[in-house]
Symmetry: C2
């Protein structure tokens, strides 16, 4: 048995026992590892950083996708940037109104490895409504015009290949790629880690300069930095706390283990320190 | 520099770098250590388990005390069981309506050490409204009858000296010690850790067999097990989500860094998995 240490800062981290390393390979973009852990089942690490666990992947994937899918009255066409493990895709396709999902993941090897080790997530990729593109999401979005109801940014941390996904220029391209009533939602790191809280603030300002409605929200993800995670929903028209959105959350057709109608509302109530 | 590993289960934990050990002593009840950490400032460990940090003590202490203090229309007399570091006491005494607080901590050495290393919390002990008793909280509560508006159980984990504080017999004694419209609130561990989730369920059933209103709620405490913590409020009369309670939360006179009126409401919305 070995212990993996997932650094949250250079001087703190989550450490957990692993029975074995199931896979390790370096792609063109990053080192990809799958380990079998005692507490979290299989875990995918990218460049040594925990990305997905069998045990609690549902929190991140439900909370990235469902608040937006229920805020939009009719999300038919969805774009996912990143999301190579297909956990977000699987929730989006569980929404019966969705007709077409394009997923643009930069690292094909992530999806190939996920297919083997997280098959419960990757079945979604076989859905005829899913279209998987392996390439640069930033370049892809530049060419899209008024095409999507919802865009979800399912990225790694803002270093290396994902850095550009936290930039204002990219958010502007997403705005252009959305239909006039479209919704953009992205993961935006942990408010407990100081330099990540700076990321949250910058992303929030950038989104507010582009979108009419910008609503940050949280989810408790035990295996991510400091256990509290943030997302930001940006919309040209719809508000996540409208009566209609809350009603749709109440009748959400996607089976969930974390998200529910009460949390759809509660997640947008932030602790004071986040934007203090 | 050394690294402390705070075990959350035997096979996972939070690890953090410490510059030095400032204090270490064994009392009649437990080993008490104060370490200077890089990320969390001073940290108090009891039997090697993280209890209080300078950096984020505010979350636990605000969230244990203020939801109940704002749910009760006129909390004049308050009993704290445990709470030796005086962080809860400091928030209770910030509430201007409170006339008298009795705190019963079993381990006097915890309070003495806190006085030296967490003076910002322990100033509260000098307030003339505060009465500090060092002794067995379980025995103390047995002798009390209809004496308190609010009882707060600020305990360590349910092993060793704190085990009895999670028992139905103790909750029954608390019920007797409360006035007819009194409120009991206790910390009840992390829902992410399986055997602690069992504790949450048992405590919840026990409280429901005694009190009319039982409302579990959460807070994101980065340094406690898995980053998500639960509390349970049990009341003979008042509901934390009543119009009156929410109004009091809105005008809460206690300065806070985590708790606010929105969170007073949101904290009671639980992820599906907690009581699944």
């Amino acid at each position: 048995m070995t212990w993996h240490l997932d650094y949250h800062t250079p001087t703190r981290g989550l450490t957990f026992a692993c029975d074995q390393v199931l896979y390790t390979e370096t792609s063109n973009y990053q080192k990809i590892e799958i380990v079998q852990s005692q507490d979290f089942g299989k875990v995918m690490l990218l460049d040594g950083v925990l990305m997905v666990t069998e045990k609690d992947e549902f929190v991140y994937h439900e909370m990235l996708s469902l608040p937006s899918l229920n805020t939009h009255p009719n999300p038919r066409k969805v774009l996912i940037i990143g999301g190579g493990d297909c956990g977000t895709l699987s929730r989006v396709l569980s929404h019966p109104g969705v007709e077409h999902v394009i997923q643009v993941e930069i690292d094909e090897m992530v999806s190939r490895v996920a297919r083997l080790h997280f098959p419960q997530l990757c079945m979604a990729a076989d859905d005829p409504r899913a279209e998987l593109i392996f390439g640069d999401g930033i370049a892809f979005v530049k060419d899209q015009v008024e095409a999507y109801d919802v865009i979800l940014i399912d990225s790694t941390d803002p270093v290396g290949p994902a850095e550009g996904l936290f930039r204002k220029a990219f958010f502007g391209d997403c705005l252009k790629a959305l239909k006039s009533d479209g919704i953009l939602c992205l993961q935006s790191e942990s408010p407990w880690i100081e330099n990540l809280r700076d990321v949250i603030h910058i992303v929030n300002e950038d989104l507010k300069s582009l979108f009419e409605v910008v609503m940050p929200y949280t989810a408790a993800i035990q295996t991510y930095q400091a256990g509290l995670w943030m997302f930001q929903m940006a919309s040209r028209k719809y508000h996540p706390l409208s009566y209609q959105a809350l009603t749709r959350a109440q009748y959400c057709p996607v089976p969930c283990k974390y998200y529910n109608a009460e949390l759809h509302m509660a997640a947008f109530s932030l602790p004071g320190f986040v934007f203090a």
